[in-house]
């Protein structure tokens, strides 16, 4: 059994790795290749390098190997051995103390800052490993990077649930205030509450008109057409009866009120949509939205 925390403390205790010199000094051909690939037309990089290139200068290269004292490599080997075989980078925080001039020759040293775990993540159980690199010109520190990876055991994918997905759908709370709405859905009508006193349309339903205080609501049957006012794409967490990602749209009806519902297809603000009704079972029919065909 490997004591990961003990090993981490040992590696952290070694301090920084021996400075590794960049293959080339900061130079214009590499700057220009970078600008060309990134598509950056910044005119200022003729005598200094783009700050975000700092790590480029000390990359190990095509046949590069990690040095034996590289703390990230050592920590990865230990976690590999402990069964955490996959890796994904999670954070890169770079601070640039000054711009680097053409001709300056960088070196870099890296130390292990922190190892925390085991943590349960969306990818699987793993450890967060944080290193700190410092770039130098001579003795002068010119840039720093804190870099974090998650080293993890891939979680096995859950078995897909059998049966129709509607069977496990979350059911709405139907009560005296909302019963007319769900009854409408069963009959293929999108019903919008209308105040029996002042005639104000309102949604979602409630017992009392916020405008005049009347408590005798009626309803209007909407034509079922509107446009997407706003939307979210839901990725996480999982929702019973739904396969992520799915779109929840706030639809502004032609009648003027806004109604929430799932939207099938590619969402866009202002997209003309129409209501569709899906019968889940005898009791429940759900309204949702789809792009309007007649546009």
């Amino acid at each position: 059994m490997i004591d990961i925390e003990e090993e981490a403390a040992r590696i952290a205790g070694q301090g920084g790795s021996a400075p590794r010199l960049a293959r080339d000094p900061v130079n214009l051909p590499m700057i220009n290749n970078w600008l060309e690939a990134i598509g950056d037309e910044h005119p200022g990089y003729t005598e200094v390098a783009p700050p975000a290139m700092v790590q480029v200068w000390t990359m190990a290269g095509l046949r590069g190997q990690r040095s034996a004292d590289d703390p990230l490599g050592q920590m990865m080997a230990i976690l590999d051995e402990a069964g955490y075989t996959s890796v994904v980078a999670t954070n890169s925080d770079q601070t640039y103390h000054r711009y680097l001039k053409v001709g300056e020759h960088l070196s870099v040293t890296t130390s292990l800052e922190d190892v925390t775990g085991p943590k349960r993540t969306g990818l699987g159980e793993g450890w967060f490993v944080t290193t700190r690199s410092t770039w130098y010109v001579g003795d002068e520190p010119v840039a720093e990077m804190r870099f974090r990876v998650l080293k993890y055991t891939p979680a096995s994918k859950p078995e897909p649930q059998p049966g129709p997905r509607q069977a496990q759908a979350i059911r709405p709370a139907v009560n005296r205030d909302t019963e007319y709405f769900w009854e409408g859905c069963r009959q293929g009508e999108l019903r919008i509450q209308r105040c029996g006193g002042c005639g104000l349309l309102r949604h979602p339903p409630g017992p009392m008109c916020p405008e005049c205080g009347a408590t005798k609501p009626k309803y209007l049957v909407s034509a079922g057409c509107g446009v997407v006012y706003s939307y979210v794409v839901h990725h996480h967490p999982q929702v019973p009866g739904r396969r992520t990602p799915f779109v929840v749209a706030l639809v502004e009806l032609d009648e003027g009120v806004r109604v929430l519902g799932e939207l099938a297809g590619e969402p866009a603000i202002g997209l003309p949509v129409e209501v569709v009704f899906t019968e889940v079972d005898d009791e429940l029919t759900m309204p949702s939205w789809r792009p309007r065909a007649d546009r």
Partner: protein, 127 residues
């Protein structure tokens, strides 16, 4: 440039040529950034953009907006969903802090799969 100012939305088409040329220009020769067969063997759906390029794009997004006179002092990014070849990477940004000449800009880069990158860029504007 004031707190609340939004940066114009910017779209990057991550063509295979873009993914590969930026990986090589950042001296990152890991096969998942240039060899689709190997990337698929390793469980990815395609080659994807490397971290040094993401950092570069975040920097470019901010300096394209702020102008070449500003100095970039810090780029802090959190990495999310990979940006695969053929994805469109959409950048959004907003100024979230200012202390005299020191500005903090929040940046999000998003593909259809979710947030590829979220982070902040600290810049120094001319006096």
């Amino acid at each position: 440039m004031r707190i609340g100012d939004a940066l114009p939305e910017w779209h990057v088409e991550a063509t295979p040529t873009f993914v590969i040329s930026t990986a090589l220009a950042t001296r990152d020769f890991q096969d998942v950034h240039h060899d689709r067969d190997r990337a698929v063997q390793r469980g990815s759906k395609d080659i994807f953009i490397n971290i040094l390029t993401t950092t570069g794009l975040v920097q470019r997004y901010v300096t394209d907006w702020a102008g070449p006179e500003v100095l970039v002092r810090q780029v802090d990014i959190r990495l999310g969903a990979p940006c695969f070849a053929y994805d469109t990477l959409k950048f959004f940004g907003q100024v979230i802090g200012r202390e005299e000449r020191d500005l903090t800009v929040e940046v999000v880069g998003r593909t259809a799969h979710g947030d590829h990158v979220t982070g902040t860029v600290r810049i120094e504007v001319p006096a």
